[in-house]
């Protein structure tokens, strides 16, 4: 068989007519997409019942490469859009894949409230510590004192700890892996998908174009290797300890796995209660 005739193993989940993709060599988003694709295969979902929603940015382009019903929406609003999809058609498996700036800055409020409502969806957040699509500006996740195009003297703002935010808001599943922890990341996404309610998986990934260049961290592979080598798995670690320093140790693992009724469950039980009450069953 000629190489050109070989089928991509993920062909049924990827839009092959859109390949080559726009991501730079050494970017970590591809790993996250691979892990997601593998996870979707493992959970054996009917792909017709999967909906992927993205916001804007490099990771925001993921929706355009997966062969499910998929929406590339507005900056930060993927989760809000996905909320409408899930409530409109509860049988859909809804996944939001977007970047750190999209989900934690402009979309931070939607992240908080979807987690609080416990909308049944999985959010995969690729965190590359920078706004890459717009040209490498400082992000709310940029460690101190990393350089970016808009922090030429080093970042002086405190970075956000997204898993902690997700936990505080009420997410039922919170995990973090690096882009090279392919097997663990995949398994984690499988768990997140199976978990009823709002699940959140952060993927630490290199931006080989901007973050790497402005901080002289080598190519994408060097960075991936660095994150991998400098991460420690600590399942159940309190999320307050998950801050990330510049080129420092990164704590990864599954931090939160708990039960809470989902939004749809609470709505249903309210409806039942109300209907019984109306029939004279209640007082």
């Amino acid at each position: 068989m000629k190489a050109s005739e070989e089928k991509h193993p993920m062909e049924n989940l990827l839009r092959m007519d859109r390949i080559p993709h726009i991501w730079c060599p050494g970017c970590g988003i591809g790993n996250a997409v691979s892990a997601f694709a593998e996870a979707i295969k493992k959970v054996e979902y009917d792909l017709d019942e999967v909906c992927v929603v993205s916001g804007i940015g490099c990771t925001g382009r993921v929706a355009g490469y997966v062969k499910t019903d998929s929406f590339h929406t507005t900056h930060g609003r993927g989760i809000a859009y996905a909320t409408g999809v899930k409530l409109g058609n509860p049988k859909m498996k809804v996944i939001v894949i977007s970047g750190d700036g999209d989900l934690s800055a402009i979309g931070g409020n939607h992240l908080v409230h979807a987690a609080r409502r416990n909308i049944d969806m999985t959010v995969i957040c690729v965190n590359n510590f920078i706004y890459a699509m717009t040209g490498g500006q400082v992000a709310p996740t940029t460690p101190r004192p990393a350089f970016t195009t808009t922090s030429p003297f080093g970042n002086f703002e405190s970075p956000i700890n997204i898993p902690r935010l997700a936990e505080a808001a009420g997410a039922v599943y919170v995990a973090r892996w690096t882009a090279l922890h392919m097997r663990r990341l995949t398994d984690s996404i499988v768990e997140a998908l199976k978990k009823p309610g709002f699940s959140f998986v952060e993927v630490i990934a290199p931006c080989a174009m901007y973050y790497s260049r402005t901080n002289r961290l080598g190519d994408g592979l060097n960075m991936m290797k660095f994150y991998y080598d400098n991460s420690v798995i600590k399942h159940g670690e309190p999320t307050e300890n998950l801050d990330i320093g510049f080129q420092e140790e990164i704590i990864i693992g599954k931090f939160i796995d708990r039960e809470r009724p989902t939004f749809s469950e609470t709505v249903e039980s309210w409806k039942q209660e109300y209907k019984t009450g109306q029939q004279g069953g209640g007082d």
Binding site: D17, N109, R117
Partner: protein, 389 residues
């Protein structure tokens, strides 16, 4: 049988404009409400929620108006007729998703209960300053459909029509209402369900794997739609896109994509535009108004006629697209247009533009405290006749 009656409130009912609006939405088949609470529009929301159990409708209070409209767009793609309800500052927040709704060609209805602006303004006082925002509020170039009810009955009827138009044209439709119309109560007759005419969303009927989200029909420029979960596994984006829904970063694609979005409404505006005219046949001066102001304008025109002035009234039932053809026809026959508005001049510009210099156009600021009074409008009409009394 009982259940059906509960769903459609057939028959005579005394309803406020707000309640009538919610009933109109339910009668039109709206089954999703995404909202964020704001004065004075929340009465519509309360009614919708009270009735949601009767019709199995979904509602969700989002964290802001940005996400409210985002959720509405998402829900619309699941096949549910969807709407949001807001006022002034909330309408401002929604603008980014008006744009996305236009770009993704997503049917939905936005009820904007106008209040006096700018910014927080006067939350409980009726306003009319969102006319141009409804038209141009989101960035980029697009066409919009906006309707302006002037009675509780029309709050019902035009909400139904808004859904019908949004399904037909695959675009967000705005209902520009205000608190006076909303709070007003009157007995209205809600028609039998079979008499409520709603255009159906055009669905794709071909093979699933051949579906192209933006392959449009030449005759109406509208691409057939599918629902999420139907198995077509489509992609759509707010970026400039081709018929596959894939982003294409070129001028030619922009032209292909956005020019059609404009034309699918602009070229079919005759099917949308609706005006109501009174005594314009022989008029020298025509008052052009919409919404709550039109009640005062109609009264002023009657008073002017009583005084022997050949006055007429043109009410915009649809504000957008603007009835420029009709205004131009009138401009060739009359001397002057008088345009009273609860703002500092918005529809005025459109009337002046559409008249192309054939008639004079006078603007009149009709402040919210003048609602219910026709004296200032009558005075303006007289002024055009050289009578300043």
């Amino acid at each position: 049988m009982k259940a059906v009656e509960k769903v459609f409130l057939k028959g005579k009912h005394t309803l406020s404009g707000f309640e009538a609006c919610a009933e109109g939405a339910l009668s039109a088949g709206c089954r999703f409400l995404g909202y964020y609470p704001i004065r004075p529009s929340f009465k519509i929301i309360e009614r919708f929620i009270e009735r949601s159990l009767d019709v199995d409708a979904v509602f969700v209070q989002m964290e802001d108006e940005i996400s409210a409209l985002a959720a509405v767009l998402g829900a619309s793609w699941t096949g549910r007729k969807s709407m949001t309800v807001t006022s002034g500052p909330g309408f401002s927040q929604m603008m980014e998703h008006v744009g996305l709704g236009v770009m993704l060609e997503t049917p939905c209805v936005i009820i904007d209960v106008q209040r006096s602006g700018v910014s927080e303004g006067l939350p409980n006082v009726a306003g009319g300053g969102d006319i141009m925002q409804a038209r141009w509020g989101s960035h980029g170039d697009y066409e919009v459909i906006a309707l302006a009810p002037n009675s509780p009955l029309e709050m019902f009827e035009l909400t139904v029509r808004a859904f019908s138009l949004s399904e037909r044209f695959r675009t967000p439709v705005v209902v520009l209402s205000d608190a006076v119309i909303g709070r007003k109560k009157e007995e209205i007759t809600i028609p039998d369900q079979k008499d409520i005419k709603i255009e159906k969303r055009k669905y794709y009927k071909g093979k699933k794997e051949d579906y192209l989200p933006f392959k449009y029909d030449e005759k109406d420029l509208i691409p057939p739609m599918v629902d999420i979960g139907q198995g077509c596994r489509f992609h759509v984006t707010g970026l400039t896109h081709d018929e596959r829904g894939y982003p294409v970063m070129s001028d030619s694609c922009q032209e292909w994509n956005v020019h059609r979005l404009v034309n699918k409404i602009r070229l079919f505006s005759d099917q949308i535009v609706e005006v109501e005219e009174d005594q314009t046949e022989d008029a020298d001066v025509v008052v052009v108004s919409c919404g709550v102001v039109s009640l005062d304008a109609a009264k002023a025109v009657r008073q002017a006629r009583d005084e022997g002035i050949k006055a007429g009234h043109l009410r915009l039932v649809t504000v957008w697209p603007f009835p420029e053809k009709r205004i131009y026809e009138l401009a060739q026959k009359i001397d002057t247009f008088v345009v009273p508005e609860i703002n500092y001049g918005q529809i005025f510009y459109e009337v002046e533009r559409s008249g192309r210099g054939r008639a004079k156009t006078l603007f009149l600021h009709h402040s919210s405290s003048q609602i219910g009074q026709s004296a200032d409008i009558l005075k303006s009409i007289k002024k055009t006749r050289g009578n300043n009394k």
